[in-house]
Amino acid sequence: MIAAFFEGVGAIAQPCTLPVLLSAAVFALAGGRNLGLAIVAHTVGLAFMAWARFGRTISVDLADGPAVIAGLIVAGAALVVAFAPAGGYRRLAVGGGALLGGAIAGAVWQPCAGTELAAIVNDAPANRLGALVPLSVYVAGTALVALAVAMLPTAAPAVQRVMSGRAVMTSGAVLGVALGAAMVVGVWGDVVNELLERSTA
């Protein structure tokens, strides 16, 4: 289980995980001061969708080609997360929107499987319930850095002020709408390619 967690941590550095990290970043920004909640909810959504797909419970794969409904969900969820009014329902909106965003990320995820993830996904179709916890642990590993970043606002009030700013949340919403539009049009892969090329140039 520990090995699965650290393999998930290491997956952050691999291009295969970039689509997932991109989605997490969108909802983290849009979450503003609820950054931690957004990341946790995104991780939960990702883990459950991945578990359902890898266990062959559902058959959905949005990695290739246009994904109209998924793109609309991502764009809508990002807008809800970013612009939900402060108050009792904001946390619900942030959690729910990020959960949906994570689920869509799980639907586009085509992993490169190391030894630990391989052991999980090879066993998943025959042992769905048994795969849930180790897969969730692996996905939690991929979210470790994001969760650490999410703790910054509590460690530094200045960061919290910045993250709570309308500009940051709006940027998350804009990125989310752009991401959703790319999925609708079917150029999502090209977007990821471009980011990868620029990040490794």
Binding site: G10, Q110, P111, A113, A118, V121, M151, T154, A155
Partner: protein, 226 residues
């Protein structure tokens, strides 16, 4: 929320520790994976059981049970290939052998590259006995789609077996359905049946055992009953 300096320091320390763990894990030397020596993990003739397989019954004490890889169904064809590397063949039928490992990979995938030393050792040990390997290169990102980049990577990585360029990912989708992974390794017998299907790294012992068992099956079929 007001926190004491000690609390802030503790939280900052957790944050830094998380970053350090990531850096240490990512930067570790993981190229020293010991390839399984083909032959050293051959199934024992007595009490053998196929790892992860339901094909072998529970052995009765004192009886020998041979490892029989499970039959996982017919193999799809390899179609819509934009080019082949390391071979003069141009189709699955021309390139395959009596026993064939088919692996979906891409050179940008760290986990795919991690399987190569194991495949290289197995190929060197069993190619003359009838093992062929076909690497179906299905890109994940654009830079992996360029045939020149693939050809360069094949040389750099020491891949000596035939490589099929699945530029349109036709086979990547047709063989795997949903969900799809890198790498994914299949072993095909001489009758066109899939006898091993593994996602990701690992399970090299079972891969070797499957190849050895199928080569023995092929030899027995060729030589006939004693």
């Amino acid at each position: 929320m007001n926190r004491s300096p000690a609390q802030r320091l503790a939280l900052t320390g957790v944050f830094v520790a998380a970053i350090v763990m990531v850096v240490v894990y990512v930067g570790r030397d993981d190229t020293t994976a010991q390839a399984t020596a083909p032959g050293s993990t051959e199934p024992q003739p007595t009490g053998a059981e196929a790892p992860g397989s339901d094909a072998n019954p529970t052995p009765t004490p004192g009886t020998a049970v041979a490892f029989v890889p499970p039959d996982l169904g017919p193999v799809p064809d390899i179609v819509d290939i934009s080019g082949w590397l390391n071979t003069d063949g141009s189709s699955f039928a021309e390139v395959r052998g009596p026993v064939t490992i088919v692996q979906f990979w891409t050179f940008g995938c760290h986990n795919c590259r991690a399987t190569l030393p194991h495949l290289q050792e197995l190929y060197a040990a069993r190619h003359d006995d009838g093992l062929e390997i076909i690497g179906i290169h299905a890109h994940e990102f654009d830079r992996e789609r360029d045939p020149n980049n693939v050809a360069e990577a094949v040389v750099d990585l020491g891949v000596t077996w035939p490589v099929a360029l699945d530029t349109n990912k036709t086979n990547f989708v047709a063989w795997q359905g949903s969900p799809r992974f890198w790498p994914r390794t299949y072993v095909i017998d001489g009758d066109g049946r899939i006898r091993f299907d593994h996602i990701g790294e690992g399970d090299y012992d079972e891969l070797v055992a499957t190849v050895d068992a199928l080569l023995a099956e092929h030899d027995a079929a060729v030589t006939g009953p004693a």
